[in-house]
């Protein structure tokens, strides 16, 4: 269905079933390639990527930028030509964009049509009642974010756009804010689209994450899937720390390949891209997937030297040099376990925890 509100519609869409859908939308001026994305009610989807890609998608939806091709459907309505102030979406802009001259209560009641009771209810839900008369600059970063949320949520939107709301928050309050955002998403049944460049902001918050690079959506999946089964090297490296080993493929058995990474070192990894025998490839392995033992673990284990052990709180970060070479590998070990004894150790991992990709142009 396409309803065409070319001129400002007399009434904004009255609470249709919430779902964001961007269909075949592209915007070359924003550097966005064709994009196909749907967010269901009560679902929180994060667009993760460096550069302006994720923010540009939000700008398209919010009406701050125009798509040059394709359809932009929000909750079943074609929004391409609807001006921003008739879209009826909740938006928390980058940097929050709070009004410096208005107090907290005025933010909650800013949208036209928001009743006093609605404003008070949203302030109460967000724990802002006792700050109602404060100005934005008198509040902590977390409270400022809550004010921006109150402004966006007071008119009860079915779709909420968040442009990196966790940026600038102290790490300590991140978990609490993520819990709050998830709770709001569920209890209001909103479709939430969140843009960020920081994987730490995306994990622990999102139902699904879409990894973007150079204006393209590379993979859209549940966080665990992205983390454990990335479809490309870019996706693997954008989801947190990962070791990269350059090597040459020797042969394969089913989808497990043997890869030579040094004259004397051969490792096993699951093939993601198709790679010919003898071709160059890149192996990725996450630090926590590497088992460390003091003595030889038998066939397939790699001899290594411990170079450095850094205590990082919940885990210890171990830096190794493989074999006799200078190839570095990072492993992490839960802090409860003692660090390995002696510099000479052996390392091993399950072949399907490592992935082999075709090298990408830098």
């Amino acid at each position: 269905m396409r309803s065409p509100p070319t001129s400002p519609p007399t009434t904004p869409p009255a609470r249709p079933p919430a779902a964001i859908a961007i269909l075949r939308a592209s915007a070359t001026r924003l550097g966005l390639a064709e994009l196909n994305l749907t967010v269901a009610p009560a679902e929180l989807v994060t667009l993760l990527g460096t550069g302006t890609g994720p923010s540009a998608v939000l700008a398209l939806l919010a009406g701050f930028a125009r798509a040059d091709a394709g359809e932009l459907l929000v909750a079943g309505f074609a929004f391409d030509r609807t001006p921003a102030h008739h879209r009826g979406l909740g938006v928390v802009p980058r940097g929050l964009a709070l009004f410096p001259h208005l107090d907290v209560a005025a933010h909650a009641g800013f949208s036209p049509g928001v009743t006093r009771a609605q404003a008070e209810a949203v302030l109460h839900r967000l724990g802002l009642t006792s700050f109602a008369r404060r100005l934005p600059h008198q509040l902590s970063p977390e409270l400022r974010l809550r004010v921006a949320l109150a402004r966006a949520l007071a008119p009860a939107p079915t779709v909420l756009l968040l442009d990196d709301p966790l940026a600038g928050l102290p790490t300590g309050s991140r978990a609490a804010v993520k819990d709050l955002l998830r709770a709001l998403c569920t209890e209001r049944g909103m479709a939430v689209l969140h843009a960020t460049g920081d994987v730490a902001h995306a994990l622990g918050l999102s139902d699904r994450i879409g990894v973007m690079q150079a204006g393209r959506l590379l993979q859209l999946a549940a966080p665990r899937t992205l983390y454990e089964d990335p479809v490309s090297l870019s996706v693997a490296t954008s989801l947190g720390p990962v070791n990269r080993l350059a090597g040459t493929k020797l042969d394969q058995e089913d989808d497990i390949a043997r890869i030579r990474i040094d004259s004397s070192l051969v490792v096993e990894a699951k093939l993601v891209d198709e790679i010919a025998d003898g071709a160059a490839c890149v192996v990725t392995i996450r630090p926590e997937r590497i088992a460390v033992a003091g003595s030889d673990m038998g066939e397939g284990a790699i001899p290594a030297r411990l170079v450095e052990a850094l205590f990082e709180g919940e885990h210890t970060r171990l830096r190794f040099a493989l074999g006799d070479s200078a190839i570095a590998l990072i492993a992490s070990r839960p802090a409860g376990l003692p660090p390995p004894r002696g510099p000479a150790v052996s390392l091993a991992w399950q072949p399907h925890h490592a992935h082999a990709f075709r090298p990408e142009a830098a």
């Binding site: 009406g63 921003a84 102030h85 980058r94 964009a97 800013f110 949208s111 036209p112 049509g113 402004r151």
Partner: protein, 228 residues
């Protein structure tokens, strides 16, 4: 409060008191009708001439044209256009003098209106410069129309700048008229564009030439400065 803080506070209060006296003493003298030097005569001439009307026109221009122009310049961030709007500030004050003659009054009022526009727009723009333009987007996302966003967000934030612009405009307009009056008192007329040649040999062209040159140079400098 620290000792330095105390000294700074005292200094500020002393300066404020001196400033107030600077306004209050001459005003009291005038109101009391004490003839000090040529003050009352000059004052009388000023009030009798077109200066009050010119000041009113300048003030209205600062409010009606200047403030919206300042907001529009803030919204668009056009450096070159900003320089063009502010250019009349470089005109030598004598060119905008108040004339007792009727001839040239339209030009005179246009000059003051232009002065008001420049000062009003400049002060408004300066006041808004630190304001994030994304506030307009935030307002739009909240369902507020562009006009509503200007009324509820931009205008309140621009108010201090607009007020400063009005104050400066009124002061600058009166001062301009006063300078022209003082320059030409002996001849019984004042400098307007038409009567300016009385001041010297052939000043009009050279003054205008220099002014134009200064305008162009400043416009270029401002435009370059605003490039990120």
């Amino acid at each position: 409060m620290s000792r330095r803080g105390l000294i700074a506070t005292l200094l500020l209060l002393v300066l404020a008191a001196l400033q107030l006296a600077m306004l209050a003493v001459p005003a009291a003298l005038i109101l009391a009708g004490q003839p000090t030097a040529s003050w009352p005569l000059l004052w009388q001439r000023l009030v009798d001439g077109p200066a009050p009307l010119a000041a009113l026109v300048a003030l209205a221009s600062a409010l009606i044209l200047g403030a919206p122009a300042g907001i529009a310049l803030w919204r668009r961030g056009w450096g070159l256009v900003t320089a063009m709007v502010l250019a009349p500030l470089l005109l030598p004050v004598a060119l905008l003098g108040g004339s007792g003659d009727v001839d040239g009054q339209a030009i005179l009022l246009a000059g003051h209106a232009s002065l008001g526009l420049a000062l009003g727009a400049g002060c408004c723009l300066l006041g808004l410069l630190p304001v994030d333009r994304r506030l307009l987007q935030a307002a739009a996302s909240s369902g507020v129309s562009p006009a509503g966003a200007y009324r509820r967000v931009v205008l309140p934030l621009a108010m201090p700048g607009i007020a400063a612009g009005c104050l400066l405009t009124a002061a600058a307009s009166l001062a301009t008229s006063l300078v022209a009056l003082a320059l030409t008192m002996t001849q019984g007329r004042t400098a307007s564009l038409a009567s300016l040649p009385h001041l010297g040999a052939s000043p009009l062209l050279s003054v205008l030439g220099v002014a134009l040159l200064l305008c162009a140079a400043t416009a270029a400098a401002l435009a370059l400065l605003r490039r990120p």
